[in-house]
Symmetry: C2
């Protein structure tokens, strides 16, 4: 996870320098963390674990964890979402398919949906890349709130500070 920004004129072919202005990569060896405190609560029975909080392009990559009876309330995506189910299964009230472990889902811009976990599933964990914004809406589609990469960063700072990891714990995920 070192930043390689120094020009090295004695380099071997396998030691090309990166551009001096390049950002550092992010490597999270265990995305599903051993430390429970890495999960940030966002609603009853709903948590997220940040992996990349991209402020220059306005998107975030995270694990979403929803436990029995948890609901990610109805929201609209003006930009694309990518999901990959790592554990459990879930569905959207607005669709008739079910996302099982090992499934990939592309959610097209314009999607409005409500994520629910079936009663017989204790826990689901899904890798999501969310671009732009999530607009929370009421049952008739009127906007009631939003989340973007900055509200996610704020939630992380508050939580990590409260649980003793320190507000700066989130910094390694920000680019």
């Amino acid at each position: 996870m070192t930043s390689q920004t120094v020009e090295d004129h004695s380099r071997t072919p396998y030691q090309l320098p990166f551009p001096a202005d390049a950002l550092a990569e992010i490597v999270v060896p265990q995305a599903i963390p051993e430390d429970e405190r890495a999960w940030v609560p966002q609603a009853d029975n709903v948590w997220f674990r940040p992996l990349c909080l991209n402020r220059s392009q306005g998107y975030w990559v995270n694990l979403l964890r929803v436990r029995k009876s948890g609901v990610l309330s109805r929201h609209r995506h003006p930009q694309a979402v990518h999901g990959f189910v790592l554990k459990g299964r879930w569905r959207y009230l607005e669709h008739d398919w079910v996302a099982e472990t090992g499934a990939y889902v592309f959610e097209a811009p314009g999607e409005t949906h409500t994520l629910v976990v079936p009663e017989d599933v204790d826990e689901m964990i899904t890798l999501f890349q969310v671009n732009g914004v999530m607009c929370y809406v009421d049952p008739w589609g009127e906007v009631t709130g939003y989340e973007d990469v900055f509200t996610k960063i704020d939630l992380c700072r508050k939580h990590y500070s409260a649980v003793g990891l320190g507000a700066e714990f989130v910094d390694e995920f920000i680019r």
Copy 2:
């Protein structure tokens, strides 16, 4: 996977229509396919399995599979890459960390690297989102070729046609 484009004035709260111009979602129930033919060969011991081939934004999401002694030769990324290791482990010759099963990696724009699979690993499978282009380079960084979403689509069409799935098999992944 149905496209919901019809305005329904009798709808219930859970049947909000999507925008008439929205694209259909993609749902791949088993991203790691049972049918071996879904894997598209791209080099010795290297295959990819398309999940989203996004021609409107110029990126692709796929599973990359590399078997023993396979190498994804040195390339540079002008845009960001996201990786999540589903099976096995691998490393880049240019970095000192190893991506193990369950790891997440953000590769910053400007990265040049060569993906190798250690000798004691039979197979690795990683979910990658690659944005823009991969520029293949020689050991000193000079460009020798490239891949983009359109070269990936072409590879898929040729392979799926040759193995009897039909060139149109790729269409469900294109947006």
